[in-house]
Each structure stands twice: as C-alpha cells, then as structure tokens.
C-alpha cells in the first residue's frame, strides 16, 4: 500500500479515537444542562427540600458541601504547602525523600472508598468525632493532600534557583529566603492546586458516605460536630435510593454539582494560563 495513503488512514483512525473520548464529554454536559435547566430557579437553590425530597430546593446539600470543602481546605492547604516546601527546599535526594514521594504517589492512588473506611475508623470512632462535618472534612482533606502537594511542588520548582542564591547572598536565612523570595512567586501555582483540590473534594461521594453524609435532615447543621447533607451524596440518594423523585429535580441537582465543580476547574485553568503568560523568567 502507498505510504501516504497508509498515513492518511492511520491519522483518521487516531482522530476518530480522540473524538470517541471528547464527544461523550460534550454530550454529557449538554444532556445535564438541557434537562437540568428546567429545575433551576432561585428557590431551588435557597429552599429546604419538601415532600420527601420530591419538591422544594436543595439548599442544605449545597451549604453542606461548602462547609465540607472549606474544612478540607483549611486542613489540607497548610499541611500540603509545608510538605511541598520540605520536598523542594529541604530534602536531599536520599532514601527518606524517595519514600515520601512514593507515599504521595500511593495516597493519590488509594480508592476513595478506602479513604471513607479510614475516616470512619480514625475520626468517627477512634477519635470520637462521630459522623460529623469535622470527620468528613478531615477525610476529604487527606484525600486531596496529594493534589495540593504535587501542584505546590511544581510551583516551587518553577521558581528559578537564582532567586534563592541572590537572597542567601544578601544574608537572608534559609527560611527568610523561602518566605520572601520563593513563596510569593509560587503562590499562583499553589492557588491553582488549591482550587483543583476544592473541585475534587466537592465532587467526591465515597469518602463522606460513612463519615458525615446524612440522607435527609430537617434543619441545617449548627456546629462542626453535626451531620450534614451534601450535594454528591444527595444526587446518589435521589437517583438510586428514593423512588418517585421527579426527573427535573435529579437533573437539576446534577447540574448544580456539575456547575460548582466546572466553575472551580475552569478558574484553575484560567489562572494557570494567565500565570504562565505573565511569567517573566
């Protein structure tokens, strides 16, 4: 066969495969947007569910997800950033740092439901926090830790070595150098990672199944030791556990969750793009 023809066929096959990956994404988005739009209204977003969740709004689930995500970030960002500083600025290429890196890779690969089991074992039972916002946030926080460490590491590594050398040569201590010459330049990258972590935490269901999520609560949580409803779990419940939920409520809930996650991810993508464009070194 003619090599040019062969190339044409091969490229077409590859192109077709790529379409198989990307087109269904568009189809999913379009289906959810079209079918969910009819449920969208101010009251859907701000009211409590009524009539066994077949009517009313999904406000407690939205609020619960915001609480959980906020709690996860408060826990994971300081820990993740410090951990990245250790890896980039302090550790040498020795056995310890290799084990740390392997541990991070493994944390990223642990199934989400295993995080749920871990949270149940350590936070809910062993530390006695019960099924609560605190337990759920900590579980989600540990789950997104690898995301935050990895992106913070990349951000710190992208700061040129000369910045550190100049600062040190002017008599600054190691920590002053990190604090004033390295961290400010790594901040946009760290922020991008944080937002990606937020999106991940907002969408996960399995880690919160046994640590915090409530099927239905008549009132809003009052403290970090209360259970809460959450968007992803609510979508799971109304699409598999409760019969007779109107279709547009299900699609509406999926749309709200999807919008939340997509907006977070899009802002991370835009932030990263802006950052790369502005970077002068």
């Amino acid at each position: 066969m003619n090599v040019q023809l062969k190339q044409k066929i091969a490229f077409s096959v590859l192109f077709f495969c790529t379409l198989l990956v990307v087109v269904p994404v568009l189809i999913i988005l379009v289906i959810i947007f079209v079918k969910g739009a009819s449920a969208m209204s101010f009251s859907f977003l701000t009211e409590m569910p009524t009539n066994g969740m077949t009517a009313g709004g999904i406000f407690p689930a939205i609020l619960g997800t915001l609480y959980l995500v906020l709690g996860a970030i408060i826990f994971a960002v300081p820990l993740g950033v410090l951990s990245a500083i250790y890896l980039v600025e302090y550790s040498r290429d020795n056995a310890l740092s290799r084990i740390v890196k392997l541990a991070i890779v493994n944390l990223a690969g642990v199934p989400s439901v295993v995080y749920g089991l871990f949270g149940l074992g350590i936070f809910v039972l062993f530390l006695g926090f019960g099924a609560s916002i605190l337990s759920g946030s900590l579980t989600l926080g540990i789950m997104i830790l690898p995301v935050i460490i990895t992106s913070s590491r990349e951000a710190l590594e992208s700061v040129p070595q000369s910045f550190r050398i100049v600062s040190l040569s002017l008599g600054a201590s190691k920590w002053q150098t990190i604090r004033y010459s390295v961290l400010p330049h790594a901040l946009p990258g760290i922020l991008t990672g944080t937002i990606l972590g937020l999106g991940r935490a907002a969408g996960e269901t399995a880690p919160i199944l046994f640590t915090v999520a409530a099927f239905y609560l008549p009132k809003l949580p009052q403290s970090v030791f209360d259970q809460t409803m959450a968007l992803p779990y609510h979508l799971y419940v109304i699409s598999t556990q409760v019969p007779g939920i109107p279709e547009n409520v299900r699609y509406g809930t999926a749309l709200v969750l999807l919008m939340l996650v997509l907006i977070l991810n899009l802002s991370a993508i835009i932030l990263r793009y802006q950052f790369r464009k502005r970077k002068k070194w």
């Binding site: 192109f15 790529t18 994404v25 295993v114």
Partner: protein, 290 residues
C-alpha cells in the same frame, strides 16, 4: 536575632513534620484497616475469605467469600481496559504528535473537563442513558450490567491514560523524530515505529494508573453495574465490585461486628492491590525521566 533563630527552628521542624506526614498517613490508613478488619480472619481463614464462592453477609450463618466480588471487579476492569487502552493511547498519539497547536489545547481542556466531572454525576448519566440503551440493544431485563460498568469506567480511565501517555510521548527527544524524518520515513512511520516505541515505559505507567483508577472507582460503578453479588456468567449480567460492596453495605452493619470487619478486610485487599499497581507504575515513570 535569637528570637528569630528560635522561630525559624520551630518553623523548620514543622516543615519537616509536614514533609513526612504523607508516610505517616499511608501507615495510619493501613494500620486502621488492619485494626478494624483483621478480626474477620479469626472466624474465616484468609483462603476462604478470598476464594469461597458465597457472599451472604447477613444470612444465618453468614458467609464471607469475596470471590464473586473479586470476579466482578476483574470483569469490569478487564472490560474497561479493553475499551480504554487502545482508544486512550491512540488519542494520546493524536494529541501529542498530530493535532495542530490550537486543536491540541482544546482537546486537552476537554480531557481535563472529563477528569473533573464527579463520579456520581457520571454514574447518574450512565444509569439514565447507557443502562436503557444496553437493555434495549441486547433485549435484557435490566441494562445495569458488567458491560455498562465497563463502558462507564473506560470513560473514566481516559483522562489518566491520555494525559500520562501524552506526557510520555512529548518527552521523547526531538532528535529521534528528526533522525527518522531525515532517513525518509513518513510522519506516521516516525510516530508509530519510533516515537511510540520510545515512549513505551510511560505508556505502561499510563495504562497501570488508569487501571488503578478503575479498580478503585466506587460511586459510578455502584450505580451502573446492578449490584448483584453473584458470580456472573457473561458480561450482560449484573455484577458487584469490591468497592461497591463496601460503599453499599457499610451503612447497614453493626460497628465491630463480623460484617463490619469483613468490609474493612475488603478495604485491606483494595489497599494492597492499588499499592502494588501504583508502586509498579512509579517505577516505569522513573524510567521515563531517565
């Protein structure tokens, strides 16, 4: 000056402690899984737990054989692999080598969006669209089958496979391509026989991490596979995976009871499987860096 030194001493200790926190957490996860799960092996020997054919945790007497769940996980994962590996690698080749710059950016953004969609949303869409489609296509009583699970999971493995394979392909030195073209090879011959070959370790890592993702996936697979804890005879029957079993049954157990311990023991099995997969993938990724 002294105060500053003391302050920095504490800050650097904190940095070190945070640095090794990942090791501590991995150890804690394993320790707590063992603490809650090991007691099941007093009652059921490990070989029976892994290879007995019946999972009837709430009958009297209960039976804790996870073989049907292991087969469920393997079947769904194999199906997902057969679909996602060739398509994923082909897409990675297209995006890295063939697509023009603008198209490339758009495609990469699309794949990033796919990675961002929560698994419960993918499960929901699979349930309402793919389920009925499979049911009508094969004339089944239910469309929630191993096949539906495989297709859904194949889709969810794509972002991992495509992005890691694409990185590996992009990392192949330019001289390889230039040398091949200079020898008179066409672009396709270069891509297929030189670049793809050189990127093979990275592609292996991509496939392994994709499979790791599939085995660990919980919500989507629980929603679309029909959840029957029986050994299936074909991919058109409902199955239940290891992950889905834990997620679906933990709510009904008594804390500290046998069923509860058995679910934690499934957690141990999952943890060990993903630990091995990620470890091996990491070795291949290091080969790429060299």
């Amino acid at each position: 000056m002294l105060i500053r030194k003391i302050k920095e001493f504490f800050i650097e200790r904190m940095i070190f402690l945070s640095g090794i926190m990942s090791i501590v957490i991995v150890a804690l996860i394993f320790a707590f899984l063992l603490k809650e799960g090991l007691s099941i092996f007093w009652r059921v020997p490990i070989s029976d737990f892994l290879f007995a054919r019946n999972w009837y945790p709430i009958s009297d007497p209960p039976q804790f054989g996870i073989l049907p769940l292991i087969i469920g996980s393997i079947l769904v994962t194999a199906g997902a692999g057969i679909i996602s590996i060739p398509i994923g690698i082909a897409s990675a080749l297209f995006i890295a080598e063939i697509a023009p710059r603008k198209t490339k950016e758009v495609l990469k953004a699309g794949i990033e969006l796919l990675a961002a969609i929560p698994s419960v949303v993918i499960g929901f869409i699979g349930m309402v669209t793919l389920g009925p489609f499979i049911k009508n296509l094969f004339n089944l009583s239910t469309g929630l089958t191993a096949l539906s699970g495989s297709i859904t999971l194949a889709f969810m493995a794509m972002p991992t496979i495509v992005s890691i394979a694409e990185d590996a392909i992009t990392a192949v030195p330019r001289q390889y391509r230039e040398a091949a073209i200079a020898m008179g090879a066409t672009k396709w011959q270069t891509t297929w026989r030189i670049v793809a070959l050189a990127a093979r370790p990275g592609m292996v890592a991509a496939v392994m991490l994709g499979i790791g993702r599939v085995i660990g996936e919980t919500m989507a697979v629980m929603m679309v596979t029909g959840n029957a804890a029986l050994i299936p005879h074909s991919i058109l029957q409902p199955v239940r995976t290891l992950t889905a079993t834990v997620a679906a049954e933990m709510g009904e157990t008594v804390q500290g009871g046998e069923h509860y311990a058995a679910l934690f023991a499934i957690g141990i099995v999952l943890f060990i499987i993903t630990f091995i997969i990620n470890g091996v993938a990491d070795i291949y990724l290091h080969k790429v860096k060299k």
